[in-house]
């Protein structure tokens, strides 16, 4: 097997045993990127020289006994995380040449763990989208079927992992943006509990919903990445002071005594029959592993799309007010007045979906509409959160599909924003409630497109997700399957 095809933990073992060097791993991955990137188009920025330099340093550090948990492992991150060594574009023209003055806390943590940063990955502009087609520069393809979407908004992060163009990646998830592309590309993806991982240096989309998390080749890799990025950060006052467990300890065989809830609302109308069957097969495997199944109900699920598409755009319209052509980003130079300069810079710098959400958000917050839209959505959010609290009284985690359908053709839903919003229905609630959620490969449809299973648990209970995911992975027989990229 080529080195680039290894999982993160396999690569880490070989490094530890002295069987390979970080330079060899990095060269192998860079070779893989050169071979498949013209087709996959996952990377917005690639730092070959910097990566090789970091790999040499990692090899040297290892020789000197300074061995971080991810020492010498080449990784890549979504281009929404600030880095001083490469531009941070957020997939937007307005930030095309922006070099951040500081690193995101998760970037520092990955570096402190000894990893090698390969580059920055494609995404929907400002993480707004479900296909990555809103990226101003390129659209990543699904490695399992070129010409099909990789999902979004962390589409590049999922495609790069699925295509073995990095050992693992980071994405961000505001309404499903890690779990949905992970599901469509057949990788593992974790949206941690809100507050588990620092958001410092994550360019804000919707601050009460955003969370950084890993996309990986298997469940053990996910646990290792969670170990590296979790924890309180004084730079993020919404991160929580809570001890971080060793997440790999959760990877135990068997689910005896674990109660798994099946939310009936997640298996409703519009669910693709192959997705339904594959996820139900997965549920049977969890049962074989010893879990007890209970039916649960989340009665306000039907309102989550409406609630989310008021709250997220409202927060976005406020967060994106900072892009005004003054301190960073694109400026229109033809304007004579300050207001004209703001208007033209923003209008030329932002793409359609970003403008659409700024308009919805501004409308929902504007005088006369605030109570009817933003306030009402924030009250409904309480009901959604309470649904979860009640459901978790009778189960330890919940399983469901991640998306109503597998991946679709690039361009197919590009002109119908509402149809795309509706496809997020199964992932939005976790962000509204702040709970952790995960996507784990479960099977394939008859066209060979991956189908994931979503797992959700109560706040700060990522360990039960990892344990159930690990047991599903042992039985589903899809881990280690690779796409043929052609």
């Amino acid at each position: 097997m080529e080195l680039y095809a290894l999982t993160l933990h396999e690569a880490a073992s070989l490094l530890e045993q002295g069987e390979v060097s970080s330079v060899a791993l990095t060269e192998s991955v860079l070779g893989r990127i050169e071979a498949v990137e013209p087709k996959v188009q996952a990377y917005l920025a690639l730092d070959q020289e910097g990566a090789l330099r970091q790999a040499e340093q990692a090899d040297l550090n290892r020789k000197n006994g300074q061995v971080g948990p991810l020492c010498g492992i080449p990784l890549a991150i979504k281009d929404v995380l600030c880095t001083t060594s490469m531009p941070t574009t957020c997939g937007s023209r307005i930030l095309e040449h922006f070099i951040a003055p500081y690193n995101a806390t998760v970037v520092t943590k990955l570096a402190d763990a000894g990893s090698v940063l390969l580059g920055k990955l494609a995404m929907d502009e400002f993480a707004m989208g479900s296909t990555s087609e809103n990226c101003a520069f390129q659209t990543p393809h699904n490695p399992w079927k070129l010409g099909y979407v990789a999902g979004g908004s962390s589409g590049g992060s999922a495609a790069a992992v699925a295509a073995d163009q990095c050992f693992a990646s980071l994405g961000s998830d505001t309404g499903g943006s890690i779990r949905q592309p992970a599901s469509l590309c057949g990788t593992v993806g974790m949206k941690p509990t809100y507050g588990r991982v620092s958001r410092y240096g994550l360019v804000a989309f919707a601050s009460s919903l955003d969370q950084v998390g890993p996309l990986t080749k298997d469940v053990r890799d996910c646990a290792l990445m969670m170990n590296a990025v979790s924890g309180y950060d004084p730079h993020d006052s919404t991160s929580i002071k809570l001890e971080v467990p060793d997440f790999t300890a959760a990877l135990q065989d068997g689910l005896k005594g674990v109660r798994i809830g099946i939310p009936k609302e997640y298996f409703g109308e519009g669910l693709d029959s192959e997705v339904d069957r594959t996820v139900r097969d997965g549920i049977a495997m969890l049962q074989e592993a010893g879990a007890e199944m209970v039916e649960v109900t989340l009665p306000h699920t039907e309102y989550c799309v409406a609630v989310y598409y008021l709250i997220a755009p409202a927060e976005a319209s406020s967060n994106l007010a900072r892009f005004d052509g003054v301190r960073y980003g694109y400026r229109d130079r033809s304007a004579d007045t300050l207001i004209e300069m703001y208007n033209r810079s923003r209008s030329q710098g932002f793409g359609d979906e970003v403008k659409r959400r700024i308009l919805i958000g501004t409308y929902a917050l504007s005088s006369g509409y605030y109570d009817a839209f933003y306030k009402k959505a924030s009250q409904a959010r309480t009901l959604i959160k309470e649904d979860f609290a009640k459901a978790f009284a009778s189960c330890d985690l919940m399983v469901s599909p991640v998306t109503p359908t597998p991946a679709w053709k690039i361009g197919d839903k590009a002109d119908d924003p509402l149809a795309l919003y509706l496809s997020d229905i199964l992932t939005l609630s976790a962000n509204l409630a702040g709970i952790p959620g995960m996507s784990v490969p479960c099977g394939f449809n008859n066209q060979g497109l991956p189908i994931g299973m979503q797992l959700q648990a109560a706040h700060f209970n990522e360990e039960i997700l990892l344990r159930a995911a690990y047991n599903l992975e042992q039985r589903a027989g899809v881990a280690g399957k690779k796409p043929v990229i052609a």
Binding site: T238, E302, Y303, L338, M341, N343, K355, L359, L383
Partner: protein
Amino acid sequence: MKITREEVQHVAKLARLDLTAAEVDRMTGQLDAILSYVAKLDELDVTGVAVTTHTQQVVNAFREDEARPSLPRELALANGPEQNGESFVVPRVIG
């Protein structure tokens, strides 16, 4: 209609966005569809329900009141589209 062309233009003005006539037309149609959908919330009785603006109850995350180094000026200015080494330069605000 949930939203008119004029309302879209008004909201665009509040959001500091210039929209072309074609953009106003397209956005009016799309926003109308989205707002018609979110009107689903009208079915829901939320009388007496508290709002959720954050899912974790963190109150007053204070730190010690000590001076600390902050971002150096040149670094803070480095991405400015126009700057003079001391401040950001913008078109004249007061005539």
